[in-house]
Amino acid sequence: MTSILELLRCEFRKTRRRYLIAAALIMTVLQLCWCLYGECTEEIVTHGWMLFLYQFPLVNAIFLPLLSMMIASGLCDIEHKGTMLKQLFTCTERNRLFDAKLLYGLLLITACVLLSWMVIVLYGFLHRFEGPFPLKLYLLYFLFTLCPTIMIYLIQHTLSILFQNQTIPCFTGIIGTFCGVFSMFLQNIPWLRKLLPWGHYGALQFVGMFGWTKETRYEYVYFETMHTDWLFFLALILSACLLYLIGRNLFSRKEV
C-alpha cells in the first residue's frame, strides 16, 4: 500500500508547472496588501491589536473561500483533464487518494492562513501597537479562521473531485462567498451566519466594536471580546467530520 507521505509527494509532483503554490501565495499577499496598505494612523496604533481581530474575519470571509476554491479546483482539475482517475483507481486506494489530495490542499491553505497571521502580528509589533500583545486572543483568532476555512475547503474539495466540470464548484464557491459576506452585515439574523459555512467567519467573530454613533462616529469607539459560542464551534467540527465522511464515501463509489 502506498504511504500517505508518498501520495503527498506525488501530489506535489503533479502540481509542477501549474504554479498553484505561487498563485496561493499571490492571493495571500494581495489580501494582506489590501488590509495593511495605507497610513498607520494614531487610531490604529491605539486600538491596533483588537481592531485587527474585529476587522480581519470580514476580510477572511472574502479571500479565504476564494483561495479554497482555487486550490481545490486546481488540484482536482489536473486529474479530470487527463482522465487520470481511471488510471489512479487502478494504482491506489480511492480513499487514500481522496485523503492525500485533501491533506495536500489543507496544508497549502493552512500555510497561507499562518503566513497571513504572522504578517499581521509582525505589523503590530513593527508599528508599536499600544498595550501588550494578546497572544491568547490571537491564537483563538487563528483557530477560528482555520476551522471555517477547513470546512469550506472540504466542500470545495468534494465538489471539485466529484464533478468533472469545474464550473459547479466554482459557481458554488462564488455564490457561497457572496452569501457569507452578506450574512455578516445582517446583524438581525445571526442564525444565517451559522447556517452558511461561508458565514462562519462572522459567527465565530469574538471581538465587537462598541461606542459608535452617527454623531460621534469613531471618537468614543472601543473594542471588547464577546461571548464565544463553543457549542456552535463543536457543531462546526462535527459537521466537518460528517462532510468528510460523506465526500470520501461518494468518491470511493464513483464510477469512471
Binding site: 509532483r13 503533479k14 482522465t83 481511471k86 488510471q87 483507481f89 487502478t90
Partner: protein, 243 residues
C-alpha cells in the same frame, strides 16, 4: 491451461438499459484474448468491470484465482496493467515525470521507466510535455504506463486508436511479443476484425452485452470454412440484435 480471468453471470445495468447481460468470460494464461464487438456492444464496460472502475449489478469476477472484491481489488490490480479508451496523463508534465508518479504509486523501481519508454520507442521523447505529443505518441505512452510494472495481466481497450498504419503494425508486433517475452496474458478489445485476427489466440465476441462466441480463434475459422471471419462476426452481431 490455467484460466487467469473468469466471469460468471456478469451483469451491468444503467437505469433501464442492460449494458452487460450475464456475461461469462474465460481468459487463459499466457494467451492473447481478442475481445471483439461492434461499437456500443459493452467491451469497454466489461473491461472497466474487470478493473473495478465500475461496479457490477450482478455476477462474479475472478482474477488470478481470487474473487474481485473491495478487499482483494488492490492486490489484484497491482499485477494488472491497463489502457482503457484513451490514455490517461498529466499534460503539463513530461513523459518521464508522468511515469515517475505512476512508479511511486505502483511502488516499482524507477529503472522500469527507461525500459518501458524504450519498448514503446518514446525514449528520445521522455523530456517532452505530454500535451505536445501527437495522438499516436499519447497512445504509445498509455501502453508504456500500462507496462510499467510488467504486470501478469494486461488489459488494452482499442490500443490502435489514433495510430497510423505503421504504428498499428508496430503495436500489433509489440502485443504479440508480450506473452512470449514477459509471460503476460493480454486482453485486447477492438471492433476491427483484421486486427484481432492477426494477434489473438483466443477470441470473445460480444454483441448487445451478450457473449456470442468464445473460444480459440482457429476454431471460429473452422465453424464455417466458406465464410470469412467478417461474415461470421456479422452473423453473430446480427443474431444479437434480433434477440
Amino acid at each position: 491451461m490455467k484460466e487467469i480471468v473468469t466471469t460468471s453471470g456478469l451483469t451491468k445495468v444503467y437505469g433501464n438499459s442492460i449494458c452487460i447481460d450475464q456475461l461469462n468470460m474465460n481468459v487463459r494464461e499466457n494467451r492473447i484474448y481478442g475481445f471483439l464487438g461492434p461499437n456500443g456492444a459493452g467491451k469497454s464496460t466489461t473491461l472497466k468491470l474487470l478493473l473495478g472502475l465500475v461496479h457490477p449489478t450482478g455476477g462474479e469476477i475472478s482474477i488470478f484465482g481470487e474473487q474481485l472484491s473491495a478487499k482483494s481489488r488492490m492486490n489484484i490490480l497491482r499485477q494488472t496493467g491497463s489502457l482503457i479508451e484513451s490514455p490517461s496523463y498529466y499534460g503539463h508534465l513530461t513523459a518521464k515525470e508522468n511515469l515517475k508518479i505512476y512508479a511511486a504509486l505502483l511502488q516499482v523501481p524507477e529503472r522500469n521507466i527507461e525500459k518501458v519508454l524504450q519498448i514503446v520507442r518514446l525514449d528520445k521523447q521522455h523530456n517532452k510535455k505530454l500535451s505536445k505529443f501527437s495522438l499516436g505518441m499519447k497512445q504509445r505512452f498509455g501502453l508504456a504506463s500500462a507496462l510499467l510494472s510488467f504486470p501478469k495481466l494486461l488489459i488494452l481497450d482499442e490500443p490502435s486508436n489514433g495510430l497510423d498504419p505503421a504504428g498499428i503494425q508496430e503495436m500489433r508486433e509489440l502485443i504479440k511479443s508480450l506473452p512470449r517475452e514477459y509471460g503476460m496474458t493480454v486482453i485486447v478489445s477492438s471492433h476491427i476484425l483484421s486486427e484481432i485476427d492477426q494477434i489473438a489466440d483466443d477470441i470473445g465476441i460480444i454483441a448487445s452485452g451478450k457473449m456470442m462466441y468464445q473460444g480459440e480463434l482457429n476454431r471460429l475459422h473452422e465453424t464455417d470454412s466458406d465464410k470469412t471471419l467478417e461474415e461470421i462476426f456479422l452473423d453473430f452481431t446480427r443474431e444479437a440484435q434480433s434477440l
